[in-house]
Amino acid sequence: MDAATPILSVENVSKEFDVSAPWLNRVLEGKPKMFVRAVDEVSFSVPRGSCFSIVGESGCGKSTVARLVTGLYSCSAGDIHFGEGQGGRPVRVQMIFQDPHSSLNPRWRVGNIIAEPIREMKLRTGEAQIRARVEELLATVGLAADDADKFPHEFSGGQRQRVSIARALASEPELLVCDEPTSALDVSVQAQILNLMRRLQDELGLTYLFISHNLSVVRHMSDTIAVMYLGRIVEMAPAETLFNAPQHPYSRLLLGTIPDIHAPKRERELQSGEPPSPLNPPAGCTFNPRCPLANDRCRRDLPNLFAVGETSVRCHAVEEGRAQEMPSAG
């Protein structure tokens, strides 16, 4: 096991979804086949034991990246490589889902839900051993042993998310993909779940791929943050660098939306517009219709990622040094 090789490397991965009308409609109405490019040439790597976060608006493709990494979707192009797992076996990847109400089968007892990965992957033999492991996992996530006999509807949202984490841990994963694990929870419960996840990371040496639209949550968790816009990574930087010195105009827009308790009435840059339809993305930089710094080059050429210090950013304005005109948020 080599600590230097990343546990996960994603190389130029793209994912297209076929959103065409049914065959008969296409033939009769002469409609063409239509594809949505949900993820477009995304590359990143996640070092072992770290937390890599992806942020962006809804529809930017971050959940698709999560499902590509777990293998629930297959890539249209590009490769996903995993490092070597413990004892030479492949890296085990598990996922924590967004909605704790639909991620647990309502007709199964919690004990069976958590035991399912153990049974499917034959990690323990014998019912007594499985039961003991389930109780151990429940204790790990802060639930009681006799909660195993309850049904999911007997729990609150935060407790269900704990069950969901216990199920993910049951298969002894090394990489946990967390798809907005706290966005369906109350703020007070969010903090509990995030602290639980950090504790588990320390205790079990987990690596997280963390997907969220909530920047405060991400700041609490991550080592590295990637900002996605319309299927592309527009900026990638170590967490504190991103928060202190955001480069891309979109990152600044996002950071500007975080409420600040110390300056509640500060002047804020008003930003209009919504993300354009991924069915018909604008030419050039996809952010140009909303970008205050956009010029003709931005409307024509797609910028490439380039490095500014520790940050990789995909922006003509930053590259040309025009970005200083825009006040930094925060």
Binding site: V93, Q94, F97, N105, E120, A168
Partner: protein, 316 residues
């Protein structure tokens, strides 16, 4: 309330029966007069049919027990009525009450069997179509559409008359009820398939199915252990209502003469035979089997209606 709390307080894990008695469904059943009434009626009808050999004064299948001088006796409360023929006799001296009890048995058997067979086909087809989608879905559902576009009586007449022509004579007697079951099932599986497919398409996308997929659960187990239990609620309602429908279809086929033969009469056969004597004044031969058929189907449908409302979250 205290009675209800005892089972859950005594043990942290109440048993299935205790949980059922504590459930909304049981409460809704108890508070619905029509549901309780229908359930009691249906229970009595089924019990009487099951106990037919004990209850009925005569074995209608045993031709030796028929006496022609007992033919066309009116019901017991009319002039000329005789014991033990409570509801009178038909033209061959067969006791109407015994005929009804045995006929109900056959009707219920064919209704139940066709529901079971069509459930089995419909659930498998619906799960496959909803889970795999694509061409599997297209093929299964288009076959179903075609079947549904033909009137069921026509399909059933076709199937049962073709089968009767094909079956060797010695099998015809025994095979006819099985042919009827298959003819009805061939039509009604489509409804179950549609219900299960729609629900499967919803459940398949839910995160608990994806979570199970991630640990390598094979498709068969995903379908049977995760998705199927979550699709069954609407299927039960459809099955209950279709049970009544299946009994009616069987009665119609028997009435038309392609169903059960007169020597193993179902309710429909009894009505057909009795219908010929209606205008000769022997109204009891046709009236009593018809009443029984009505009671049976109405009570099944009332139970089905109650179940549909009780399981519909929007009506709670």
């Amino acid at each position: 309330m205290t009675e209800l709390q005892v089972p859950s307080a005594a043990k942290s894990q109440p048993g299935r029966i205790a949980r059922f008695l504590d459930s909304d469904l049981w409460w809704s059943f108890k508070s619905s007069k029509s549901a309780v009434g229908a359930a009691i009626t249906l229970g009595l009808v089924i019990a009487a049919a099951l106990l037919a050999p004990v209850l009925s004064p005569q074995n209608p299948y045993d031709l030796a027990s028929l006496e022609l001088w007992n033919a066309e006796l009116p019901p017991i409360w009319m002039e000329g009525g005789q014991m033990p023929f409570l509801l009178g006799t038909d033209v061959q001296g067969r006791d109407i009450l015994s005929g009804i009890l045995y006929g109900t048995r056959i009707s219920i058997f064919i209704g139940l069997a066709s529901v079971v067979v069509s459930l089995a086909i419909g659930i498998v087809a619906g799960l496959m179509a909803g889970f795999y989608g694509g061409w599997v879905d297209n093929v299964l559902m288009r076959v179903g559409d075609v079947l549904l576009s033909i009137p069921i009586i026509l399909v059933a007449i076709l199937v049962s008359s073709v089968a009767q022509a094909l079956l060797p004579p010695e099998l015809r007697e025994a095979g006819i009820s099985i042919v009827l079951v298959l003819a009805i099932a061939m039509y009604s599986w489509v409804q179950y398939a549609r219900v299960v497919r729609a629900q499967t398409m919803v459940e398949r996308r839910k995160e608990y199915v994806q979570a199970s997929r991630l640990v390598g659960t094979p498709a068969r187990r995903l379908m049977l252990k995760h998705i199927l239990p979550n699709t069954l609620t609407p299927v039960f309602v459809t099955a209950t209502l279709n049970f009544g429908l299946a009994i009616l279809i069987e009665a119609t086929l028997s009435f038309l003469g392609v169903g059960m033969p007169p020597d193993q009469p179902s309710l429909g056969t009894l009505i057909r035979v009795g219908n010929q004597y209606l205008f000769s004044g022997s109204w009891w031969i046709v009236l009593f089997p018809s009443i029984q058929l009505c009671i049976l189907v109405v009570s099944v449908n009332m139970l089905g209606d109650w179940l549909r409302d009780a399981l519909n979250p929007k009506l709670r």
